[in-house]
Each structure stands twice: as C-alpha cells, then as structure tokens.
Amino acid sequence: MPDTPSLIGASPLRKEGRAKVLGAARYIDDIELPGMWHGATVRSSIARGRIRSITFTDAVDWSEYAIVRAHDIPGENIIVHLIKDHPCLADGLINHVEEPILLIAHPSKAALLKAKAAIKIEYDPLPGIFTIEESEAAVEAGDADRFIWEPNEAAGSATFGSPNCFRQYQLYSGEAKETEEGLARAFEEAAFIVEGEYSTGAQEQLYIENNGVIAECFRDDQGNIASVCVQGSMQCPFYLVHALTLVFNLPEDKCRVIQVETGGAFGGKEDFPSVIGSHAALLAMKCGHPVKIIYDRAEDMAGTTKRHPSRTRHRTALSKDGILLGAEIEVALDGGAYTTLSPTVLSRATLHAPGPYRWPFLRVRSKAMATNIPPHGAFRGFGAPQALFGIERHMDRVAKAVGLTPEELRRRNFLRTGDVTVTGQKLHEAFDMDAMLTRVLKEHGYREKLARFAEENKTSPIKRGVGFAAFLHGAGFTGSGERRLNSEVVLDFDIQSAHVLVMVSSTEFGQGTNTILSQVAAHTLGIPYEWVDTAKVDTSLVPNSGPTVASRTAMIVGKLVERASNKMLQKLRDTAGLPTPHTAEDFKRAVIYYGEKVMKGPGDNEFSVRYEPQAPVFWDDVLYRGEAYPGFAWAIYVAEVAVDMNTYMATCVRFDALQEVGRVLHPVLAKGQIEGGVAQGIGYALYEKCVYDQGHLRNNQMTNYIMPTSADLPEIHVHFEEVPSVHGPGGAKGIGELPMDGPGPAILNAIENATGVSFHSIPLLPEDIFERFTSLGHPHGGSEDFNTSVDRDTEVEAPEVTA
C-alpha cells in the first residue's frame, strides 16, 4: 500500500453510479421475462372480522386467470419472521385492513383490473382496535371480545406473548431487587421528580420505487414443484429464501432469490418482500409462467409496513444539582396486526430509551401491542427514534423544572469513557460528549442565537428558536445477534486480471454498500478500486453475510471483507511470493503465479471468513444485561426553527448534525447518508402524518402524505468525529440509521425555545400548534380532528356542468 493515497477516507465514484445517472440501471419494473404474466392482490376492506363469502361474478371469464387462495399454498400458510402468526393469505379471519385474501394473475394488466372489480367479498365484521390505548384497555378490562391477538404455542408466541401484547421487556440497571430498592430511595431523596409522556406517529418509508418482484416456479418431469426463483426490490434476499422454504415446503437451495437494483428501502423492504415475494411465487406456481407483481403507490402505502407508533412515559428523580438519581421509563409500541419484527424493534427502543446518560438506578418496561392495522415494520432507526424522542424531549422538560439550561443538564449527566451503560456495558472508547456539545453548539451559533431570538421574538410575528438533542445509536445487531447470524463473506480473484470479486448478501439501495465494501477490499489488498467489484446478490451464488439492516454493513460486513482480504494476502504471501510491502503489480504477479502454479481446483481462489467478535461481546437475553451492541455512535444534533404565528407553521431553517462514527469510510457517501436521514427526520417531526380512519390509511397518495420537497428543507451541516472502533474496518461504526434519531427532539426542543410552549407529540402539524395557541375551549381541534373521509380537492371527479 505504499504510494497510493488511502482509499479509506476517499470518495471514489459509486460502483453503480454511472448506470444510475445514465438511467441505465434496471429496477424490477424495467425487467420483463418471456411469457410473463402480471399479478394482483385482492385485499380486505375491513379491519377485523370473518370472511362470509367470496363470489366470482361472471363479468369475466375466470378460465383466463390463475387464482391463488390460502388452500393452494403447498407448504405453510405463514410468512415467517420470528413468530408464525402471520398468514401469507387470510383464511377466513381478517385482522387488518388491506389484508391479502387472494391473488390473481393474467397476461394483461388491464384484465386484472376487471377481475378485481368482479370479485365480491362479504364479511361479518368484528370490533377493531386501532390505538395502543384501546389495545391496553381491552386487556385491563379482560374483554376477550377485544383480544385481537393471542399467544399461541404452535406459532411460538406463547413464551413471551400475552393477549394483545406481542412482547414485553424489562430492563434493570443492575440486579432487579437492588435496582427497585435503589429507585425507591432515589425518589424519596430526590429534590425534583419530573414526569412526562411523549408520543410519535406512524411514518411511511416512501421509497420512490414501490415494492415489486418477478417470480418463477420450476417443476420436474413429474410435475412436482422443484424450485422457485424470485428477483426484486429488497434488502434481505436470504429472509425471502427462508420465507419461501416454509410457503413451498422446499429446502433452501431450491429457493433462489436475486436482488435487483433497488430504488430506496429504509427498512420498508426488509421484511415486506417475504410477503410480496411469496405471493408472486405462488401465482407463478399456479399459472406456470413468470409472474410480476408491482404495487402502485396507493397500494404500497395502504398495505405495507410503517414505523411503529410509540408512547413513552418518564418519571425521573434528580438531586438539587440536577444530577440524575433514577428513573422509571415505560415504552409502548403499536405493532399492528401480527408480530413480524416488533420484538426486535421493541428491544432497540428499550435499549435506547435511557439515552446517553448515567443512571444510578433505572428500570425500563416496554411492550408491543397489537392493533388491527397492517403490521408495522422496519424503518431506519428501528425503535431508537421513538425512544430517543422521549428521553430528549424529557431532558429539556427536566432542565426547566430543575432550573438549569438544557446544555448544563446534559453536561452534568453525560456518559463518559470508562462509564458503564444501563445494561452494564463498559464504554472503553475515548468519546467525549461534553466536547462534542461545545463543538456543535459553536458551529451552529447556538448561544448567540438564544440571546438574539429572545430579544427579536418580543416583537416579531415569526418566533425563532434553537434546540438540540444528544443521543447514541448502537450499531449492529443487539448482543448475541451477530453471533447467531454467523455471517460469511467470500472474496475471490480472477487468475488472469487479478480483479477481485466481493461476494456478500449485503444489498445496495442507495446507501453505498457496493462502493464501501469495494473500497475496504481494495484498500486492504493494496490494489486499485477499479480492480474490485461486488457480485450480484443472487442467493445461489453469494454467502449469507446477514441482512442489510441495523447499520451493520460498514462495520460488521466491512470488517469481514477486511479479514477476507487479509486472508487472501496471507495465502499469496505464503504460496506465491507476494512481498511485504507490495505494489498492485506485485499483487497481480502473485495472483497470476498462483493461478498457474499453485491452484489445484475451482474454489482455491476463494477466501471465506465468518463472523468473529473483535472484542468480547457478551449479552444475556434473559436478564437483558451485558454488551448490548458492539459499538455505539455518539451524536448531538442542533436545529433552528422559525414558527410563523400567522400560519402556525414551524419550519426548520438550519440544522447541524455532529456525530462520532469511528471512521468516515467515504466522505461524500457519509455526508449523503446523514443529510438524507436528517431530511427524513424533519419529515417525521413536522410533515409526515399517517391519517388513519378505523385502520384505513386515508392519505395513501403522495399529494396528501406530505414529504418535504427541496423548497422545505434547511441547509444541513454535517460534522464528523472519529474515534476508531475495533469492530469495523479502519475503525468504522455504522451510520445509516442514527440521523433519524436527532431531528424530532431537536426540532421540538427548538419550538419550545421559540414559542415558550412545550409539545410532546410528533408529527407536530400547524393545526396542533394552532390549537394550543388559540385555546378555543375545544378539547381537540388539532390534527387528530382531520375529517379523513372528506378529500374534496384530490378526490378526482369529473366536474359537473349545469344542464
């Protein structure tokens, strides 16, 4: 690696970038297979009940169509994640609006429209549950008619589930009994006790490319199903492989999945492809042709996963100097109708609920409740944005109660190097939140603005304010998760060109997977970036390096790529005379020599490594103690807002994001990740409301689901610090999700600074701000009072004319 400038920390062009700017990148809807049919999904129009009848009227010739119902499923009628409670197709019982009931396929898309219109379904509705509170109330009342989900031995949910509740956790900062006693003392001795409740709404991932797949089913000479193959837009091909093995009762090597160019995902294509992929494969099975299913925007928004809504309650004890003595935190999530990923989202929410602070005594209780809404799922942040919104809003409230500035309260309570987290994880790395706070407040001009706005706000109709949020984000899977995943990475070289192929199941969907993994390999191998590529993610060809989630790709998979590269170098040194140090030409010579003289058979040019923790990571799943994550990224985000008191619109006008991330592998990509995540976080805080009506998402169009445009977002200033972690290549930790954690609380803290009024719920719309300011004596009047059934400006009708 002598004369080439370091690739780590450089910004080489994206591997797939050229194809993207040319418009040549092929997404799933750009692909056609010969003889391909199209598929559609017939869905429930009620939230809960029984199907009384399904009638296929004779408006169409049904012999032209392939139809799949629950009883056609060759294996299990289950979409598997952690628990087997999620039907692939509803079989008599309905538990959410838009629940898939049957599937139809036809060579022509237009014929599918006719067919859907010709299917009449009648239901016997049952009372539905649509909020965390309604779900809890049913449990408290013991009202079995409103137990919409119950634990089931066969499904595997009996151990941890209870009526209407998918999962619960209890996290103690020490041994349970000692902690309870400590807490009791803390509250007794406290100079201040501060309580608060905070809530966050659902959020739609709104990838610009909707969900889509093309599936094929292959039969043997006897006509039995031999294998299935699904290609499509997705994050985790091996998750879909697993789902298909159950639906088709086939072994893994007969279920092939290929990820194609994916137009955005953000978690929305983590677990959901198991549903659409299984559906398309079933239709392919029925009709004997490849089947493409592409959702349109309305269907995708109405029927697929969203971010879990949350409610967090804090009760905090402090000394007269504003030192945290102890707290009780309760976190509740709305999981939707089936378990899917709720236990994991809840776990992350639980672990992030305490924020970046020292807690002598702490108890967190958390639960994921069932509702009759399409199951909620993964969305960038995965429980952490919800929990961190709670603690960071609460800390500003605490500061006020205690008579300290928000800044001073944090400084007195931040975790420091050498401290132990609430799960007992010792923080060895040399991070410094105190210094970071000083730095980012200065970058933003925070103190100067505080003073200036306090003066200007007295007379201006636009109230300005600043606020910040301090947080941490655990990278990688929780605790023993990475050990269980046991990820594998394979590198190989071409014996003539010496070009190297990185084989992983990690997918590219805009965040830069192909680029950074190639960078890491090229850097470690000491060869040009142009000599390295990543293989197409085809499960018949690549090893399972785990799902592309949890901000683990750079850190965990990157480290595996680094190790595999070193393994390759060692082999070349040992057998092919590769010198140390070496040039790229040396590498090529050694590879050629290896190919000619050393290699005995295929596979000899492949180098495989499996996950090994780079430092002790011990986690007790039962006690919920130990090393929760291999590494934490630390961050402080600052927002400046302007609240127009004529329109009650709050706008973020400047944003500073400072994060410590171990090592910035690719500055341009890293900046892009933070900026994009902050933009989504601003949407989460101020614009993006899912407007539900009895479980139906009424604003399932881009016109009415308000995502910020280029005209709405502030300048986003990104700052990095680097304290290298042993777990990632070059010291890198994960960064993909952390930018979602900061904007919500920072912006609401800023709005409180601007207006003097404290808001506790996001999304915070102008109607909510309006209602608080105008106190018209109505109990509501904020955005929860939108009449969801009236949309006279986008419900498009042919205009009437007078006779």
Binding site: K109, A110, L113, K114, D296, A298, P461, M645, N646, T647, Y648, M649, T651, Y687, V691, R698, N699, Q701, T703, N704, I706, P708, T709, S710, A711, D712, P766, E767, F770, E771, T774, L776, H778, G781, G782, S783, D785, F786, N787, T788, S789, V790, D791, R792, D793, T794, E795, V796, E797, A798, P799, E800, V801, T802, A803
Partner: protein, 291 residues
C-alpha cells in the same frame, strides 16, 4: 395505474370550431381535456368516469395573452408557465403571477392551463382568488355564440360551474385598473411547494390617505367554491388605518371574515384552523397597508 386505457376515446379535432361542433352535437357526452394535470390523475386512480374525451390542448385559438388599453385577455388554454413568462401580466397582475408560480411544480405548470384550473373548480384552486379580487370576467363559447359574465358568477357550487355541456371557457379578461392599488396574496399549504391550499387570500385595496376606499378579497378553501368575501369587504370599505383606528379596523375585518367563511374539516386541515389563519392573513394585509 387503475384504468384500462383501451376503454377511453380521445380525439383532437383540428380547430376550436370543430370541437364546439362536437360538443353541440352530443352535449354531455364528451369531456374536454387541456393539459391533463387533473383528468390524468383521475385516470391513474381509476376514477375517470368520462369515457369520451376531446383534446383542446393544441388549440392555438385558446392559448393567447392579448393586451389592450383596458384589459388583459388570457386564453383559457394559456399555461401557468405562459403566465409566469409574460411581462404584461407581471407588470399589471402580480397576484396572478404569484398564484401561477405556486401551482404545482414547474413540470405541472408547463402543462396546466388557467382554464383547466378554473373549470375543474376545486375550492382550493390557486388562481381563482386572484382572479376574483381582480374582478375578472369570463367569456364562454359554444357553437351558437359567446357570452360573457363576471367571474364571480361562474362558480355555482362544489365543482359546479356555469358552463353548459356544449360550452368551453374561452377567455379570462382582467381590467387594467390596479396600478396604484395595494396588492397582496398569500397561500397557506401543507408545505412550501407542490401543496394543496389549506387557505389562500388575495387582496387588492385602494387607499385614500389612511382610508380604505375600495377593497376586494378573493379566497380559497373557505367555502365549497372560490369566493369573494363580500361581507368582509363591506365591513372594511371606508375603514380607517390610522394608528388610533387600526385595532378596531382589524377586529371588524376579522369578525366579518369569521362570519362569512365556512371552511370544513377535511383530510388536510380543520375548519377552525382555516378560519383563524384566513383572519390572520387578512390582519397581516391590513397591517401592511397601515405601513
């Protein structure tokens, strides 16, 4: 895409006369389509009931901006981009330029037409408030002739206009009398760009010293159609903006608007919010007049 496009007929008769002849021959059977930014959305969601469409997008006879001494005449087929580019409209009708600039995106402004915006008749439409405040007149054309009416008489109810089944909107005429008037327009949407109006107010006022001698207010989303706020205008005509009178003038204006406006709760906002925000916009205007 929820429609079968083979079930629709679309033809483009070569001239305006040919279109009008078709409309006359089979009234109510054909739906005119200009830029398509409304009707094609309906097609996409599977709600375009009209199966036979006549394209008027290409008709030169409808796409013009003519200026004479008294007025500016805008063809119904004029696009929002045409309006934004026109120097005469920029000089004389700034509120119309403003409202065209916040209608949808640049791509939609290149296709959407003033006539389409008016005839689609959404109460939230962006250009009607300015046209109402400016006292526009509209000319309707059919095979049997033309008729002109004040624009204030064009909107009859929710998405109902005075257009007969055999008629097209031909011209929107705005008098060139507003030099020296104070003009103000503001839209409150769900975000800064590409947003449907929650409410919007267009105001033009003539002052004599510190007294309002004439006032016109056009509003969006305060009723089932775009409206002139006549009662509010009446309450404020003759009102004084002098420092000692300003507060009571503002109060009178707000009270009148609160009575007159009947906004609803819908999927985007609430009636109370719209009502108060509209009053805030009015107050903002009045205070700006007081200087």
């Amino acid at each position: 895409m929820r429609s079968d496009v083979t079930q629709y007929e679309l033809t483009a008769p070569a001239t305006l006369a040919a279109v009008l002849a078709q409309l006359a021959a089979e009234p109510g059977k054909h739906t005119p389509i200009a830029g398509g930014t409304e009707l094609m959305v309906a097609l996409g969601v599977g709600r375009l009931g009209a199966k036979s469409l006549l394209s008027i997008n290409h008709l030169r006879e409808l796409r013009f901006i003519r200026v004479d001494d008294d007025a500016i005449h805008i063809g119904a087929g004029t696009t929002f981009s045409d309006i934004r580019r026109n120097a005469d409209i920029a000089r004389d009708l700034p509120l119309l330029v403003q409202s065209a600039s916040w209608t949808g995106s640049v791509a939609n402004q290149n296709r959407g037409t003033l006539g389409g915006n008016i005839c689609n008749a959404s109460p939230a439409a962006d250009t009607p408030p300015a046209l109402l405040a400016y006292g526009a007149t509209v000319t309707l054309i059919s095979a049997t002739g033309m008729r002109t009416m004040p624009y204030t008489e064009f909107h009859l109810g929710y998405k109902r206009t005075a257009l007969r089944p055999d008629e097209l909107l031909h011209t929107i005429t705005v008098p060139r009398v507003f030099a020296g008037w104070k003009q103000h327009i503001r839209k409150v949407g769900t975000r800064n760009a590409q947003a449907i109006s929650k409410t919007a107010l267009a105001c033009v006022a003539k002052l004599h010293g510190e007294t309002i001698t004439e006032l016109r207010i056009g509003a969006a989303s305060l009723a089932d159609r775009p409206i002139r706020c006549y009662a509010t205008e009446a309450a404020l005509t003759g009102a004084s903006l002098a420092a000692s009178d300003l507060e009571s003038t503002v109060r009178a204006g707000r009270a009148a608007l609160a009575q007159e406006a009947k906004p609803i709760d819908d999927i985007r906002s609430t009636g109370r919010y719209r009502s108060i925000v509209a009053a805030n916009l009015l107050e903002e205007f009045l205070r700006s007049l007081a200087g």
